[in-house]
Each structure stands twice: as C-alpha cells, then as structure tokens.
C-alpha cells in the first residue's frame, strides 16, 4: 500500500513536489534557527567561561569565599595530581590549571629605571603544554594585534589598551610587581611577545596573559594554581549536566570542614550567571516555541489546502466504491509519507547549515567594535550549535502539523453525501 501511495505521489508532482519543498524548507529553517539561538547563547556563555568561570571551576573553599581578592595564598596545591584525577574521572571535560593575579606592571627606561607603571590583571594560562586548547578557546590567533603568541615561559601577551597606555610594544621587557603565593614581595621580568585585542569592550583593559609556568615562577606557586578550569570538548555548556557533575564532585571530594579542600563551581555559580543561564533558557524556549507554532500553522494550512484541493478526486474515488475510511486513511498515509520525506531532507539541510555556522560562525566584529565601550563581555563571532534535539525537533512541524492539517481537511470526506456525488461530478 505504501509503495502504491509513494508511486502515486512521485507521479503526481502537484501532490508531492510543492508540499515536500515547503516542508523541507520550513523544517530546515526550524532546525537552523533553534541551533543558531542555542549557539549564540552558548557563545555568550563561552566568553564568560573562558575568562572567568570555565564550564566547571575548581578552587579551594577558602578561595571561593574571597575570590574577588584573588587570594593566591589560598590556592590549590598538588595541582598536577588533581588534574590527572579529573582527567581520569571526568573525561567528558578537558581540565586546565589557571593562576589569576594582580599587581603593577613596570616599564623600564634605558637605564633600567621606571619609565611607566600601571595596574595589571594577569592570567597564567597553560599555553605551552602539549595538546593544550587554551590558544583555541581564547581565540588568540585571531586576537593578536602585533607580535606573536608566547613561545616560552617568560613571554607575555599584553592587551593593546594596556600597551598603548604604558607605551610598550612587542619585543620589550616589562617587570611585574606583586605578591607571591605566600604574600611576599615579588618582581619578575616578562618579555612582551605580542599585543592582543579581545574586542570585548573594557574586559581586557588591564589584561596580561602569560604561560602558567611563568606565573608559577613569578609567584612562587610550584604545582599550585588559583583554579582548575574545565570545559566540555564540544565547548557547549549543558547546564543540567554541569550542575549534576558539580554536585557529584563536591559530594565525593570536598570536605566542608576543610577550608583548603577542592570545591567545584558550575558556570551558573558565577556572579549572576545563574540568572543569565535561566533567562537564556527561557528565552530560547519562548522564541523557539513561538517560531514552532507559526511554522506549524503554515504546514497545517498547507495540509488543509491539499485536502480541499483534492475535493473532486475524493468524490470520484467514493463514487467508484472506495469507502470513506479507506480514502481518509490513504490521505493521511500520503501526508505521513510527504511529511517524513520533507522532514528528513529538511533536518539534513538544517543540520548541515547549522554545522557549517557552528564551525565557521558569522562574524559581527565590526558591529561589536561599535559597542567597545560596553562593559558586557560580548562575542564577535556568533556560532550555531548542533545539539541532539535538532535531530528530531523538525518532526513536530514537518510530520505532525502536515498530518493534522490533512486530518482536519479529510473530515470533509465523511460529510459528503453519496447521492450528491454524481451531480457534483457532472458539474
């Protein structure tokens, strides 16, 4: 029967081509739109995660209490062992230690005396380890304004805003003045390997990026770190999974009586990030829902119109002796076949498009530069995101709406009077 109906659909293009095209395009649009909305929200989260919170972040309980003060005397110890355990126990994430510290950056003149000085907020990031993805997630290759990426532990990248203020350029040497992990006075010379601009407003105004090994030397933090950051391999933040992992880890590893025991925080535990995550989830649900309803109405209407357009054909089939039920069921079966066919192609097209934008993004750099005075961390390139639900979400409008439309239109079959059929066919 299905083979018979399929043949009929293929031979009568007016019944198959246009509906399949409409369903395909609509489903592709639904899949891409939802994927793009998810990806855009994820891009927003990822920027905050890369700079401040990670998808997961592990600190000591005491550090967490005073995190605004960057208290490295409360940092994590035996970090290599901790990271090894995390990699073994939670392979769904990649884990990387980070040192966050602040102090003064001093620029010497030709006699080695202070020429310029300014406050700096520095991040010791694991750039140089084999297989490190930090350069990728910080998008540094794209953000370099002059010079090159750090190649050894004394190299530092300075934000172009800070470099302009202190009048330094790539190749020069600067001295960091601050406190060690034990709060002792420390000075450390870094070579400016390059300057960068994250193009995220004032975020990088006083920023310096150095390799973790350099920060450890400068701050006397051997095998210690302010925090260990964890990111999913796909860089997609799944709030539910992150919260579950956080609870599971803290239950197993964290001791509430020991202020130096490790304590895991999910992205939503950062400042106001919980509200952001909830609001964005609700926004995606509302916007996606409205879009889905609109699309369903369109496809429903198409199913309805298809049913009405075949008024004469239905009459003829009834006159030839087919039962009303048979006609009704065959029309629904045809709608299912068309819906499935269009949905599968549409989902495929939508996924390909979403995946392309996930990999390449849509560059809004120029538009975002106009907002450079904003203090909000905004992404410059918006990426889409392929998520598991995109594989089935298109079936709701593609199959369900089309079939419902056909079912509604088909009800008219039962209202046809057999005695009137031939009269209708004559006209």
């Amino acid at each position: 029967m299905i083979k018979f109906l399929t043949k009929g659909l293929l031979r009568d293009r007016s019944r198959s081509l246009f509906p399949v095209l409409v369903i395909t395009l609509t489903v592709a649009m639904v899949v891409f739109t939802i994927g793009f909305m998810r990806g855009t929200m994820n891009s927003l989260f990822l920027d905050t995660a890369v700079i401040l919170t990670g998808h997961e972040k592990i600190v000591t309980r005491a550090y967490n209490e005073e995190s605004q003060l960057m208290p490295n005397d409360l940092a994590l110890l035996d970090v290599d062992q901790l990271v090894d355990e995390l990699r073994r126990d939670y392979p769904g994430f990649f884990w990387s230690p980070r040192i966050t510290f602040a102090g003064l950056l001093d620029v010497p003149d030709e006699n080695g005396e202070t020429k310029a000085q300014g406050p700096v907020i520095a991040f010791g990031i694991d750039f140089l380890s084999h297989g490190s993805r930090q350069v990728e997630i910080w998008e540094l290759e794209r953000s370099i304004v002059s010079g090159k990426l750090p190649k050894n532990r004394n190299d530092a990248l300075i934000s172009s805003k800070l470099a302009n203020r202190l009048n330094i350029s790539a190749g020069e040497s600067v001295t960091f003045i601050g406190s060690t992990m034990e709060n002792a006075f420390t000075t450390y010379n870094f070579n400016v390997s390059g300057t960068f601009n994250l193009r995220k407003g004032q975020t990088d105004k006083q920023m310096m990026l150095v390799d973790l090994s350099g920060a450890r030397l400068a701050l006397d933090m051997d095998n210690a770190a302010s925090a260990i950051f964890g990111f999913t391999h796909s860089l997609y933040y799944d709030d539910e999974a992150a919260v579950t992992l956080r609870d599971q880890y803290n239950k197993a590893e964290s001791d509430s009586l020991d202020i130096f025991s490790p304590f895991m925080l999910a992205l939503r535990d950062g400042n106001q990030m919980g509200t952001m995550v909830d609001v964005s989830g609700a926004m995606i649900a509302i916007m996606g829902g409205i879009f889905l309803v609109v699309v369903m109405v369109v496809l429903w209407n198409m199913g309805l119109m298809n049913g009405l357009r075949r008024y004469g054909e239905v009459g003829l089939r009834l006159a030839m002796g087919e039962s009303k039920g048979q006609v009704y069921r065959s029309m629904i079966s045809e709608a299912v076949i068309i819906g499935l066919f269009g949905t599968i192609i549409g989902t495929g097209m939508g996924l390909v498009l979403t995946y392309y934008v996930q990999e390449h993004g849509i560059d809004y750099t120029k538009g975002m530069e106009a907002l450079s005075n904003s203090s909000m961390i905004m992404p410059n390139i918006f990426y889409a995101q392929v998520t598991p639900d995109l594989f089935y979400i298109g079936f709701i409008p593609g199959v369900l709406a089309t079939v419902l439309g056909t079912m509604l239109a088909g009800l008219a079959i039962y209202k046809r009077e057999m005695a009137q059929l031939f009269k209708e066919l004559e006209t």
Partner: protein, 250 residues
C-alpha cells in the same frame, strides 16, 4: 582688683584644664615623650618579621638604617627568596630593588597600600613613620589599669590630610610612656589595624619595645605579624651614601 584676680584665676584654670592626674603631664608632653622613646636622629637595627599566614608562617630577617623620618634603607637578609632585596625611602619616595630582576622600581600609587613582604604592615605604614606630634592632635579619654600597670587612653585625630589612619586610640603605659596597644581607624570609624608591643627594655636611656605585633583587622582570620628587634642602636652616624639609589644594586 578682686574681679581681676578672679578672672586671672579662671584663665589660669582654663589654661591648666588639660593637666592630667597626679603626674601633671599634659597631652602634648605625653606625645612628645612617646616620640622621644620611639624616634631618634638615626637608628640602625636588625630585626625579624614573623608573618603568620593562613597556611604557613615565614620569618624574614632584615637590617635597617634610618635617619630622621625621611630616609631609610632596608636590606633583607633571609629567607633565600627575599635575601638581597633592598628598599630605599627618601622623603615621600620609595624604591625597591630585587636581585631576581636586577631592577630598581619605584613603588607608588595603589602599591603603597599593599603589604610589606606579606606582613600586616603596608608600605604606607612605613612611609608614615613620623612623630605623632607632627600628625595628630590628641586628647586623653581616661586612664585604665592593664596587668596592674596604669595606662592613659589617648584619642588621636589627624591634623594633616591624607593619612592612612585619620583616627587612632592608644593605651600609653604611664611609666614607659609607650603606646603599648593601639587601634588604627579609618575616617569613618572602621577599625583597620591594631598593634601592640612588649618586651620593653632600656636602650641608650630610653624605653623601647623588642617586639611589636601588627594585625590587619580587614584580613579575615589574620594571625598578625610579629616584628622582633634583635639589635638596635640609636643616634649612630650614618653616611649619606647609605641612602643613594646606586647602593640598591650593590
């Protein structure tokens, strides 16, 4: 004539109303006595600073050369990481030299509010090491007995602007004339630091403590910093070359 005598007596009483207790010491004399004990034309001292951190304690040894209130030179002797670090204060300027970077760095701005070697003392605390009579106006609140010894409780209010601690309260030992305990406040009345001293000894005719304890009250769970004076000499001839920037690198 009688009226004149009464007015004269009244003026005299007003003039002596700030006289204190049975010792007949005025507030100004009390401050001057404190300054006379704590400050000298010059000082050379070797000391240990024990910084009690939240995880560990560190002992930092240093030698200081001080002339008046404007010039001081400090050389850190141990531990190895700090050894060779030198600091020079000349007037309102402070330079630090670190052998790790071989750089002479001027410390200014917000860095002056940072702690010295992780202690509970800030660079500003060092910079404002001036006689109390120059900086504060004092009143005596009351007297108190602490450990069987009489103490004057002084309230000090800044007479110059820009001080780190515009208000202080000091418990001054009536015999030693030293502020055995002090509370240092912000302008709004918030307690910022507390200090105490003990091990009072007679050194070159003056009472001087051999141990100070500083506590930064803004640091949660701070265990304070001990500053132990191992050796001190007052009014020593120190050559001017001791306070040259060139000596920082030597």
């Amino acid at each position: 004539m009688k009226i004149k005598t009464i007015i004269s007596a009244f003026i005299l009483c007003q003039g002596f109303s700030f006289l204190i207790g049975e010792e007949n010491i005025t507030v100004d004399e009390l401050l001057k006595a404190i300054d006379a004990n704590l400050y000298a034309k010059s000082r050379v001292l070797t000391s240990k600073m024990i910084v009690h951190g939240r995880r560990t304690s560190r002992t930092i040894e240093s030698r200081n050369w001080i002339v008046g209130i404007d010039k001081s030179f400090t050389e850190y002797l141990s531990p190895p990481r700090e050894a060779g670090t030198k600091m020079l204060k000349d007037g309102d300027k402070l330079w630090a030299y670190s052998p790790q970077t071989d750089r002479v760095i001027q410390i200014s701005g917000h860095m002056l509010r940072q702690s010295v070697m992780g202690s509970d003392m800030s660079y500003n605390d060092m910079m404002e090491d001036k006689p109390l009579t120059d900086l504060y106006e004092a009143t005596i609140e009351r007297s108190e007995m602490i450990d069987g010894r009489k103490h004057w409780v002084l309230s000090l209010n800044a007479r110059v602007t820009g001080l780190s601690y515009p208000k202080r309260r000091a418990w001054v030992d009536a015999e030693y004339l030293l502020p055995m305990k002090e509370e240092l406040y912000a302008k709004g009345g918030k307690l910022l630091k507390s200090t105490s001293m003990d091990g009072i000894k007679k050194v070159q005719g003056r009472w001087f403590p051999t141990r100070f304890i500083f506590r930064d009250e803004l640091k949660r769970n701070s265990k304070g910093t001990e500053w132990i004076i191992d050796d001190i000499q007052f009014d020593v001839e120190i050559p001017n070359s001791r306070f040259s920037k060139a000596l920082l690198r030597k």
